[in-house]
């Protein structure tokens, strides 16, 4: 990547490179199996690798996209989609589903999504004082609720006699979900909801740009900061909740990919949000390829960190 921040000619080139990278990652993801490079048969491709590819693109993209929106909204570079506690709510739902049984059905992801929704409302209600929410209030409330919920997750795991290994994988990310026709339908329905939420959230790109400069200026420029805060928070949380419901908590992507996107594409949210989506998708696909090459397979969060950190340090140092 080049150093000049917003020369228009370079901009197109960067987008093309990014799309190319995603294309290559997708092809690799389809063609690499447990024994290395193998195209395998049609059934494996259609039933296992294609869903895994789409899930990877969606999860990585969604985490990075909402991470960018939240960092912009809260003006805090250390915020990631998990800071606001919603992921812990989804994880609690997942754990509850696994502990209660019936994982062959769809109760587990449904419980996870429900957990995310309840957490979203709780975090918002706690953060709200006198009819309005502050940025600090949201972050604090999210962190506190998150800690409480992760305590509950551990408690459930201990009482449900789960081996620690299973907890780690359950909570540290896995794209290899066993699909049944019912689960596939739930996944498709969630995909549609995610697309809608992404489009809606993208509509706030301009408001986020203005709010990033100064909130009071934003008010005079006609941005309703309260309703923007509320909607961006709710949409990002919804997106992250759905993502955790299916893939578990994949760390790093939502925190650092937004920074990568800003380093490459500048501070304009209209550009960094889609760029973060593509970068997040690439990173997660590549991480997933590495994670599945070994036996036993690795938790995804381990690989995303190993892959992303050196790349980030390189970009950060060359700036």
């Amino acid at each position: 990547m080049t150093r000049s921040r917003s020369a228009p000619g370079n901009q197109t080139l960067r987008w093309l490179l990014l799309l190319l990278l995603l294309g290559v990652a997708a092809l690799l993801s389809l063609s690499i199996g447990p024994t290395g490079f193998s195209l395998s048969n049609a059934s494996v491709l259609a039933n296992l690798r294609l869903p895994r590819l789409l899930l990877g693109v969606a999860a990585g993209g969604v985490l990075a996209f909402s991470g960018t929106a939240l960092q912009g909204l809260l003006g805090n570079p250390l915020v990631d989609p998990y800071t606001l506690g919603v992921a812990n709510g989804a994880a609690l739902g997942t754990t509850l589903g696994v502990v209660l049984g019936n994982p062959a059905g769809i109760s587990t992801p449904l419980l996870a999504i429900a957990g995310a929704m309840v957490t979203l409302l709780a975090v918002y209600a706690i953060a709200q004082t006198g009819g309005k929410v502050t940025k600090t209030g949201l972050v604090l409330s999210g962190v506190i609720v998150g800690f409480f919920l992760s305590g509950l997750v551990m408690l459930l795991m201990v009482f449900a006699r789960r081996p620690l290994d299973q907890t780690i994988y359950l909570l540290m990310g896995n794209l290899d979900i066993v699909l049944t026709p019912t689960r596939l339908w739930l996944l498709i329905a969630s995909g549609v909801a995610v697309l809608g939420a992404l489009a809606w959230l993208y509509g706030f790109a301009r408001s986020l740009n203005i709010m990033a400069t100064n909130e009071e200026v934003a008010e005079t420029l006609g941005v309703n900061t309260q309703s923007t805060t509320r909607t961006v928070f709710a949409l990002s949380s919804l997106l992250v909740g759905i993502s955790v419901a299916f893939t578990g908590v994949i760390s790093f992507v939502g925190l650092v990919v937004p920074h990568l996107a800003r380093l490459i594409f500048g501070p304009d949210h209209a550009r960094t949000m889609p760029a973060a989506f593509l970068l997040g998708a690439c990173l997660l696909l590549l991480a997933d390829i590495l994670a599945r090459l070994t036996t036993p397979v690795l938790p995804l969060s381990v690989v995303t960190a190993f892959l992303g950190v050196p790349f980030f340090i390189y970009l950060f140092r060359t700036r």
């Binding site: 024994t35 494996v44 006198g130 009819g131 066993v178 596939l184 309703n224 036993p296 397979v297």
Partner: protein, 316 residues
Amino acid sequence: MKRADSSPLTAHGLVPRTDSAFCIPLRRSLQSAICILHSAIILGLFAICSLLTIGCPRSPLPRPGGIVSLVPSVTEIIYALGQESQLTGNTTYCDYPEDAKRIYKVGDFSNPNVERIMRLKPKLVFATLPEQQTAVAKLEQMGVRVFISRPSDFDSLFREIRAIGASLGAASQADSLVRAVQTRLAQVTEPEHRLKVYLEIAEQPLMTVGASSLINEIIERAGGENVFGDVAKEYPVVSQEQVITRNPDVIFLLHPMWDRSQFSRRLGWREINAVKFGQVRDDVNPDIVFRSGPRVADAVETIAQCLRHAVSVHDT
């Protein structure tokens, strides 16, 4: 554009806040919902804790100087040796034989309560690692003799049964127990040829058994070949594609969540021989497989029988 709440005038209380009519009841109901949820959770936790601590032990404390078993398989060994009269405490997991449920409970398998163990003043405690690391460390610190049970294959299991027998003054009983198990193992009829076996112990994520697990040897002694027998880890996490590529002939589901009819709906798994030939078994008692005690002979016999059945189905 509606006046936003964060304007300087509102912030200084000069203008009344413009809470919308919708917001206030929503917030109030949310807050009360959270309150109720919170109290429900706290009450629930309290109930669980009180059940755990005061639920079972209304009976008088057993006499001191007995032995305590924190491992269900060791409890089974003690009963098989006929030494249950020495057993003064065990865990809520110890449910076989039936009589073991009536022994004084010192906690559950992963959380044995050291104080409750100490009240029994035991002369010997049987425990396992790494699950009971904390309790073992505390007990040893207080000078209690701890016997660590962790057999990784049949030979170490037999050595362990003899050592347990010796420590309970039942060496000859241990000797005949080992001989009895070995005789039963020698009499197991293996299937005509070795079939590839995949044994699933969890679905989210997929978990199976590897070479360092005693279950690997159970499969081998029953005349099967563990498709993940080349993985060293005790309970490795694997991917769906790895299972499909290794194409097992028989699948054992050792977690209660999935049954065979649900199993056949898994997308992409129909390619597997075991699914094609209807050789997915959900009817094997997980306890006989997981507990490395005298019932390993039952496990080997049951799995060998399933494999012989599978061979006849595959051949026709």
